[in-house]
């Protein structure tokens, strides 16, 4: 059988359903992580920008440390920490927790950038009207900042989807792990991994296009200068 025929043989409904379940779990874990990280990241960014120095330094230290570590290490650390602490939360929750610890730090930087892209005059005006720091953030700055943050948040979702694959190493039954189960049964790793890669690719590529398109529309609305001056971050 040639390669194309062997790929076609993989399109057995049972196998596809099995892999589809894995894709579902991949999506649940990625979206759950990003939702939780948005909350965690916003809290971290607000604390980091808050006028209270010790808290601000602690938040900065957390963000800079976690961002500088391999996501694999953060995930394994949290996974084993919950295990050794006899916190029996199950693999799915442990992986979401581990990835959230990592992606909160990443998203904190996105939120901070979003907040700082809003003209300082707005915060000052809100403060002059008698709003506290948190009130000014919640009702004036954040609603505008979130709209500008949409493209980088979608990019972060792409990174998160790629990171969920690491969950397969600790036994999370997501797409890649289900793929390894299939090829261990049928001894066809090249075909299965190609198919799995194409599924991840379709997902990540279309989301990247969405992020790029959003970026275009956001940049048109926001000041181009401010965004151009932002450091060109590369995330592998």
């Amino acid at each position: 059988m040639d390669f194309a025929a062997r790929i076609a043989a993989l399109l057995d409904p049972d196998i596809l359903r099995f892999l589809g379940g894995g894709l579902g779990l991949t999506l649940v874990v990625a979206l759950g992580t990003i939702a939780l990280s948005l909350i965690g990241g916003t809290a971290l960014a607000l604390v980091r920008l808050s006028p209270w120095r010790p808290a601000s330094l602690a938040a900065a230290a957390y963000v800079e440390t976690i961002r500088s570590l391999p996501s694999f290490l953060v995930l394994i650390y949290v996974y084993f920490a919950t295990y050794r602490a006899r916190l029996d939360v199950g693999t799915v929750a442990a992986v979401i927790l581990g990835l959230t610890v990592y992606h909160s730090a990443k998203i904190a930087e996105v939120v901070r950038g979003g907040i700082q892209s809003i003209d300082r005059g707005q915060t000052e005006a809100a403060r002059a009207l008698g709003l506290g720091f948190m009130q000014a953030m919640a009702s004036v700055v954040l609603p505008q900042a979130y709209r500008r943050m949409l493209p980088p948040l979608v990019s972060e979702l792409v990174l998160c989807i790629k990171n969920t694959s690491i969950g397969s190493i600790v036994g999370l039954n997501e797409l890649l792990r289900r793929g390894t189960i299939v090829y261990q049964q049928y001894f066809n790793p090249i075909e299965v991994l190609t198919l799995i890669a194409l599924i991840y690719w379709g997902l990540c590529f279309s989301l990247s296009r969405v992020a790029a398109r959003l970026e275009g529309s956001v940049v048109q609305r926001a000041e181009r200068g401010a965004l151009l001056r932002a450091p060109a971050a590369v995330e592998l």
Binding site: T65, S68, L69, P70, S71, F72, L73, I76, Y77, F80, A81, Y83, R84, V158, I161, K162, N163, S165, I166, S168, I169, L176, T180, Y183, F187, N188, P189, I190, L193, T194, I196, A197, Y200, W201, C204, F205, S208, L228, R229, P231, A232, A233, V234, E235, L236
Partner: protein, 217 residues
């Protein structure tokens, strides 16, 4: 734990640290030129080269690097080709990283004003002459901080090779943890070693970036 135990465990981790550094150095040395070539192809005046370069970049950067690793480690042997786990790690991470390098090089080239190219070409330079003497020096200078971030990314991604049995820092940490059950002290030490490698790099990137921004303004 007695103190000789600690020093033994530390040297066990440091063995892995050495492998992590070797892997990073090799992947950097290979993925920068490979990525630069693909980036040049993406900016080339020949459509076929551009399409091929774009396909390469868009495919590789939108799949998890772990799949590439598994592909070479578990997939390749079934075709009769066997390479050892370290070589699988170098191959997978180099391919993955080169896609990001290509994108940076392409963006750098695109950032050089079109008028400059027209001016040099009108002075009688050929395509490669203009590229070599006018476009690339500026493009690479602009891309320098981003390249620093790429190397940071390589260090972080090398941890994945532990999953195919390469005895890098991450792997040694996992082995040590499973023998000693000292989860917190082991993984904290591993984290500190990664930080020792990455923090100086990202600080250097931040300095370069600030210097570049001052020029842009």
């Amino acid at each position: 734990m007695s103190s000789p135990g600690i020093s033994q465990n530390l040297s066990f981790l440091l063995e892995g640290f050495k492998v992590t550094i070797q892997l990073t150095a090799l992947c950097t040395a290979l993925s920068l030129p490979l990525g630069a070539l693909v980036g040049l192809a993406r900016a080339a005046p020949i459509k076929l080269l551009r399409v091929a370069g774009t396909a390469y970049v868009e495919f590789l950067r939108n799949i998890p690097p772990l799949i590439l690793l598994f592909f070479f480690f578990f997939g390749l042997p079934s075709t009769g080709v066997t390479i050892d786990d370290f070589e699988c790690g170098v191959l997978a991470l180099t391919l993955y990283t080169s896609a990001f390098v290509a994108e940076i090089v392409r963006a750098g080239i695109a950032a050089v004003e079109r008028g400059q190219v027209d001016a040099v070409r009108s002075l009688g330079f050929g395509y490669f002459g203009a590229l070599r003497y006018v476009v690339l020096p500026q493009a690479l200078a602009m891309a320098l901080p981003a390249m620093g971030n790429v190397i940071v990314g390589i260090v972080k991604n090398t941890a994945l090779v532990a999953s195919i049995g390469v005895t890098d820092l991450m792997h040694q940490g996992e082995v040590l943890e499973s023998h000693t059950f000292a989860t917190f002290s082991t993984f904290t030490t591993v984290a500190l070693l990664y930080l020792a490698l990455i923090v100086p790099m990202s600080s250097a990137v931040a300095v370069l970036d600030r210097r570049r921004m001052r020029k842009v303004r």
